[in-house]
Protein backbone atom coordinates (compact mmCIF):
# COMPACT_ATOMS: atom_id res chain seq x y z
CA UNK A 1 0.00 0.00 0.00
CA UNK A 2 2.88 2.35 0.83
CA UNK A 3 4.27 1.72 -2.64
CA UNK A 4 0.99 2.71 -4.19
CA UNK A 5 0.91 5.96 -2.17
CA UNK A 6 4.49 6.70 -3.18
CA UNK A 7 3.68 5.99 -6.79
CA UNK A 8 0.71 8.38 -6.69
CA UNK A 9 2.83 11.01 -4.93
CA UNK A 10 5.57 10.63 -7.54
CA UNK A 11 3.19 10.84 -10.49
CA UNK A 12 1.31 13.82 -9.02
CA UNK A 13 4.57 15.70 -8.47
CA UNK A 14 5.98 14.95 -11.92
CA UNK A 15 2.73 15.91 -13.60
CA UNK A 16 2.53 19.27 -11.87
CA UNK A 17 6.15 20.16 -12.61
CA UNK A 18 5.58 19.23 -16.25
CA UNK A 19 2.19 20.86 -16.70
CA UNK A 20 2.62 24.22 -14.98
CA UNK A 21 6.38 24.66 -14.88
CA UNK A 22 7.20 22.89 -18.16
CA UNK A 23 10.11 21.12 -16.47
CA UNK A 24 11.19 17.68 -17.60
CA UNK A 25 12.16 15.41 -14.73
CA UNK A 26 14.70 12.64 -15.32
CA UNK A 27 13.45 9.09 -15.25
CA UNK A 28 16.07 8.37 -12.59
CA UNK A 29 18.23 10.69 -10.56
CA UNK A 30 21.77 11.04 -11.84
CA UNK A 31 24.78 11.46 -9.56
CA UNK A 32 24.73 15.24 -9.71
CA UNK A 33 21.06 15.37 -8.82
CA UNK A 34 21.47 12.88 -5.99
CA UNK A 35 24.25 15.03 -4.54
CA UNK A 36 22.39 18.33 -4.97
CA UNK A 37 21.17 20.15 -1.88
CA UNK A 38 17.53 20.95 -1.37
CA UNK A 39 17.77 24.29 0.36
CA UNK A 40 14.25 25.65 0.04
CA UNK A 41 11.09 24.10 1.47
CA UNK A 42 7.40 24.83 1.77
CA UNK A 43 4.69 23.02 3.69
CA UNK A 44 0.96 22.74 3.10
CA UNK A 45 -1.17 21.60 6.03
CA UNK A 46 -4.45 19.88 5.30
CA UNK A 47 -7.37 18.49 7.23
CA UNK A 48 -10.19 16.23 6.24
CA UNK A 49 -10.84 12.51 6.62
CA UNK A 50 -7.23 12.47 7.71
CA UNK A 51 -4.94 15.35 8.62
CA UNK A 52 -1.38 15.96 7.69
CA UNK A 53 0.97 18.01 5.62
CA UNK A 54 2.83 17.95 2.36
CA UNK A 55 6.38 19.26 2.29
CA UNK A 56 8.09 20.20 -0.95
CA UNK A 57 11.85 20.74 -0.87
CA UNK A 58 13.73 22.00 -3.90
CA UNK A 59 17.26 22.87 -4.94
CA UNK A 60 17.89 26.61 -4.99
CA UNK A 61 19.13 26.38 -8.58
CA UNK A 62 15.71 25.25 -9.79
CA UNK A 63 13.69 28.03 -8.22
CA UNK A 64 14.41 30.80 -10.76
CA UNK A 65 13.64 28.44 -13.67
CA UNK A 66 10.44 27.23 -12.04
CA UNK A 67 9.14 30.76 -11.57
CA UNK A 68 10.24 32.03 -14.99
CA UNK A 69 8.61 29.07 -16.73
CA UNK A 70 5.34 29.43 -14.82
CA UNK A 71 5.19 33.13 -15.68
CA UNK A 72 6.30 32.56 -19.26
CA UNK A 73 9.15 35.01 -18.88
CA UNK A 74 12.66 34.90 -20.27
CA UNK A 75 14.27 36.22 -17.07
CA UNK A 76 13.55 34.92 -13.58
CA UNK A 77 11.49 37.18 -11.35
CA UNK A 78 12.61 38.44 -7.94
CA UNK A 79 13.20 36.05 -5.05
CA UNK A 80 9.83 36.67 -3.41
CA UNK A 81 8.05 35.73 -6.64
CA UNK A 82 10.21 32.62 -6.93
CA UNK A 83 9.15 31.56 -3.45
CA UNK A 84 5.54 32.35 -4.27
CA UNK A 85 5.81 30.12 -7.33
CA UNK A 86 7.04 27.27 -5.16
CA UNK A 87 4.22 27.80 -2.67
CA UNK A 88 1.68 27.66 -5.48
CA UNK A 89 3.26 24.49 -6.88
CA UNK A 90 3.04 22.87 -3.45
CA UNK A 91 -0.60 23.96 -3.17
CA UNK A 92 -1.45 22.42 -6.54
CA UNK A 93 0.45 19.19 -5.86
CA UNK A 94 -1.32 18.77 -2.53
CA UNK A 95 -4.72 19.68 -3.97
CA UNK A 96 -4.35 17.06 -6.68
CA UNK A 97 -2.62 14.40 -4.60
CA UNK A 98 -5.30 14.03 -1.92
CA UNK A 99 -8.21 13.18 -4.26
CA UNK A 100 -5.87 10.86 -6.16
CA UNK A 101 -5.41 8.98 -2.88
CA UNK A 102 -8.98 9.01 -1.65
CA UNK A 103 -11.29 9.71 -4.56
CA UNK A 104 -13.51 12.76 -5.04
CA UNK A 105 -16.02 11.95 -2.32
CA UNK A 106 -13.85 13.27 0.50
CA UNK A 107 -13.50 16.94 1.35
CA UNK A 108 -10.11 18.30 2.35
CA UNK A 109 -9.26 21.80 3.46
CA UNK A 110 -5.80 23.05 2.62
CA UNK A 111 -4.04 25.81 4.47
CA UNK A 112 -2.05 28.47 2.64
CA UNK A 113 1.41 27.06 1.87
CA UNK A 114 4.19 28.42 4.09
CA UNK A 115 7.92 28.62 3.76
CA UNK A 116 9.76 26.41 6.26
CA UNK A 117 13.38 25.70 6.90
CA UNK A 118 14.41 22.73 4.80
CA UNK A 119 16.37 21.53 7.77
CA UNK A 120 13.44 22.06 10.14
CA UNK A 121 13.37 19.12 12.47
CA UNK A 122 9.99 17.61 11.94
CA UNK A 123 9.77 16.15 15.40
CA UNK A 124 6.11 16.68 16.04
CA UNK A 125 4.85 13.27 17.17
CA UNK A 126 2.30 13.28 14.37
CA UNK A 127 4.84 14.10 11.69
CA UNK A 128 5.27 10.59 10.40
CA UNK A 129 6.24 10.49 6.77
CA UNK A 130 4.10 7.98 4.91
CA UNK A 131 5.46 8.57 1.43
CA UNK A 132 8.34 10.33 -0.22
CA UNK A 133 9.12 11.08 -3.84
CA UNK A 134 12.33 12.42 -5.31
CA UNK A 135 12.68 13.74 -8.82
CA UNK A 136 15.73 15.05 -10.63
CA UNK A 137 15.47 18.11 -12.87
CA UNK A 138 18.49 19.64 -14.61
CA UNK A 139 21.23 19.89 -11.93
CA UNK A 140 18.84 19.88 -9.02
CA UNK A 141 16.39 17.80 -7.10
CA UNK A 142 12.87 18.02 -5.75
CA UNK A 143 11.73 16.04 -2.73
CA UNK A 144 8.11 15.74 -1.77
CA UNK A 145 7.13 14.18 1.53
CA UNK A 146 3.63 13.35 2.67
CA UNK A 147 2.99 13.34 6.41
CA UNK A 148 -0.24 11.99 7.87
CA UNK A 149 -1.37 12.24 11.45
CA UNK A 150 -2.94 8.85 11.49
CA UNK A 151 -2.29 5.96 9.17
CA UNK A 152 -5.81 5.84 7.64
CA UNK A 153 -4.39 6.00 4.18
CA UNK A 154 -2.58 2.70 4.62
CA UNK A 155 -5.90 0.84 4.84
Amino acid sequence: MKEKVEDILYRSTVRIFEDIAFMLPNMELNEQQMGASVEVAVAVDFCGPFNGKLVVRISNSLLPILAANMLGEGEPPCRSEQLDALREVANIICGNLLPALTGTKEVFRLSAPSLISSREPLDHPNDIPVAEARIGIDEGRVEVVLFIEDKEVDR
Binding site: L71, R87, N91, G95, P99, T104, E106, L110
Partner: protein, 142 residues
Amino acid sequence: MALNILVVDDSSVMRSIIIKTLHLCGLPLGEIYQAVNGLEGLQALEENWIDLALVDINMPVMDGEEMIEKIRRKPDIADLPIIVISTESSRKRVEALRRKCDGFVHKPFTPEELRKAIMKVIGGLNEGEGGGYTLQVNGPDF
Protein backbone atom coordinates in the same frame (compact mmCIF):
# COMPACT_ATOMS: atom_id res chain seq x y z
CA MET B 1 -17.00 47.78 -24.60
CA ALA B 2 -13.93 47.31 -22.40
CA LEU B 3 -14.20 44.64 -19.73
CA ASN B 4 -13.09 45.29 -16.16
CA ILE B 5 -11.90 42.11 -14.51
CA LEU B 6 -11.15 41.22 -10.90
CA VAL B 7 -8.59 38.49 -10.14
CA VAL B 8 -8.66 37.12 -6.60
CA ASP B 9 -5.88 34.72 -5.53
CA ASP B 10 -3.40 34.81 -2.67
CA SER B 11 -0.60 33.77 -5.03
CA SER B 12 0.90 36.66 -6.99
CA VAL B 13 2.35 34.20 -9.51
CA MET B 14 -1.06 32.68 -10.12
CA ARG B 15 -2.59 36.15 -10.54
CA SER B 16 0.12 36.95 -13.09
CA ILE B 17 -0.59 33.74 -14.99
CA ILE B 18 -4.31 34.51 -15.09
CA ILE B 19 -3.70 38.12 -16.16
CA LYS B 20 -1.32 37.05 -18.92
CA THR B 21 -3.96 34.62 -20.17
CA LEU B 22 -6.56 37.41 -20.13
CA HIS B 23 -4.29 39.49 -22.35
CA LEU B 24 -3.97 36.59 -24.77
CA CYS B 25 -7.71 36.01 -25.11
CA GLY B 26 -8.26 38.80 -27.59
CA LEU B 27 -10.82 40.42 -25.28
CA PRO B 28 -11.35 44.19 -25.10
CA LEU B 29 -9.83 44.63 -21.67
CA GLY B 30 -10.35 47.67 -19.48
CA GLU B 31 -8.95 47.62 -15.96
CA ILE B 32 -7.71 44.48 -14.28
CA TYR B 33 -8.00 44.59 -10.50
CA GLN B 34 -6.21 42.23 -8.16
CA ALA B 35 -7.01 41.05 -4.66
CA VAL B 36 -5.17 38.64 -2.36
CA ASN B 37 -8.21 37.35 -0.50
CA GLY B 38 -11.99 37.47 -0.47
CA LEU B 39 -12.16 40.53 1.76
CA GLU B 40 -9.94 42.59 -0.54
CA GLY B 41 -11.99 41.27 -3.44
CA LEU B 42 -15.20 42.60 -1.89
CA GLN B 43 -13.53 45.98 -1.32
CA ALA B 44 -12.50 46.10 -4.98
CA LEU B 45 -16.10 45.37 -5.95
CA GLU B 46 -17.34 48.21 -3.69
CA GLU B 47 -15.01 50.72 -5.29
CA ASN B 48 -15.02 49.70 -8.95
CA TRP B 49 -17.28 48.51 -11.73
CA ILE B 50 -16.31 44.88 -12.42
CA ASP B 51 -17.62 42.79 -15.32
CA LEU B 52 -16.08 39.45 -14.40
CA ALA B 53 -14.41 37.97 -11.31
CA LEU B 54 -11.91 35.10 -11.37
CA VAL B 55 -11.74 33.71 -7.84
CA ASP B 56 -9.55 31.20 -6.00
CA ILE B 57 -11.11 29.30 -3.11
CA ASN B 58 -8.44 28.53 -0.52
CA MET B 59 -7.25 31.92 0.68
CA PRO B 60 -6.48 33.33 4.13
CA VAL B 61 -8.60 36.01 5.84
CA MET B 62 -11.67 35.28 3.69
CA ASP B 63 -11.87 32.35 1.31
CA GLY B 64 -13.42 32.43 -2.14
CA GLU B 65 -16.56 30.57 -1.14
CA GLU B 66 -17.45 33.11 1.52
CA MET B 67 -16.67 35.96 -0.87
CA ILE B 68 -19.00 34.48 -3.50
CA GLU B 69 -21.80 33.99 -0.96
CA LYS B 70 -21.52 37.61 0.08
CA ILE B 71 -21.56 38.76 -3.56
CA ARG B 72 -24.72 36.77 -4.29
CA ARG B 73 -26.46 38.42 -1.32
CA LYS B 74 -25.72 42.00 -2.46
CA PRO B 75 -28.44 43.14 -4.89
CA ASP B 76 -26.20 45.46 -6.92
CA ILE B 77 -23.59 42.76 -7.69
CA ALA B 78 -25.55 39.54 -7.19
CA ASP B 79 -25.44 38.75 -10.90
CA LEU B 80 -21.70 39.31 -11.32
CA PRO B 81 -20.24 36.62 -13.58
CA ILE B 82 -17.80 34.60 -11.48
CA ILE B 83 -15.38 31.87 -12.51
CA VAL B 84 -13.78 29.83 -9.75
CA ILE B 85 -10.15 28.78 -10.31
CA SER B 86 -9.15 26.22 -7.70
CA THR B 87 -7.50 22.91 -6.86
CA GLU B 88 -10.79 21.82 -5.24
CA SER B 89 -11.65 18.27 -6.38
CA SER B 90 -14.28 17.07 -3.93
CA ARG B 91 -17.36 16.32 -5.99
CA LYS B 92 -19.67 17.72 -3.31
CA ARG B 93 -17.79 20.99 -2.98
CA VAL B 94 -17.32 21.46 -6.71
CA GLU B 95 -21.06 20.94 -7.30
CA ALA B 96 -21.86 23.44 -4.56
CA LEU B 97 -19.46 25.94 -6.10
CA ARG B 98 -20.81 25.42 -9.62
CA ARG B 99 -24.30 26.27 -8.35
CA LYS B 100 -23.04 29.61 -7.08
CA CYS B 101 -20.78 30.61 -9.95
CA ASP B 102 -20.70 30.66 -13.73
CA GLY B 103 -17.64 28.56 -14.42
CA PHE B 104 -15.11 26.34 -12.73
CA VAL B 105 -11.50 25.84 -13.79
CA HIS B 106 -9.43 23.24 -12.01
CA LYS B 107 -5.78 23.87 -11.21
CA PRO B 108 -3.52 22.97 -12.93
CA PHE B 109 -5.05 24.48 -16.04
CA THR B 110 -3.75 25.34 -19.46
CA PRO B 111 -4.26 28.92 -20.64
CA GLU B 112 -6.50 27.47 -23.36
CA GLU B 113 -8.78 25.90 -20.73
CA LEU B 114 -9.03 29.21 -18.89
CA ARG B 115 -9.71 31.06 -22.14
CA LYS B 116 -12.48 28.58 -22.98
CA ALA B 117 -14.14 29.11 -19.59
CA ILE B 118 -13.90 32.89 -19.91
CA MET B 119 -15.29 32.90 -23.45
CA LYS B 120 -18.16 30.68 -22.38
CA VAL B 121 -19.14 33.21 -19.72
CA ILE B 122 -18.37 36.38 -21.67
CA GLY B 123 -19.41 34.95 -25.04
CA GLY B 124 -18.58 36.37 -28.44
CA LEU B 125 -15.73 34.44 -29.96
CA ASN B 126 -16.49 31.03 -31.42
CA GLU B 127 -14.08 28.19 -30.76
CA GLY B 128 -11.61 27.66 -33.54
CA GLU B 129 -12.51 30.80 -35.42
CA GLY B 130 -11.27 34.31 -35.44
CA GLY B 131 -7.70 35.37 -35.34
CA GLY B 132 -4.85 34.05 -33.35
CA TYR B 133 -4.66 34.45 -29.62
CA THR B 134 -1.80 36.77 -28.88
CA LEU B 135 -1.12 40.33 -28.00
CA GLN B 136 2.57 39.79 -27.36
CA VAL B 137 3.84 40.74 -30.76
CA ASN B 138 7.53 40.52 -29.94
CA GLY B 139 8.25 37.38 -27.99
CA PRO B 140 11.78 36.41 -26.93
CA ASP B 141 11.97 33.67 -29.59
CA PHE B 142 9.42 34.68 -32.25
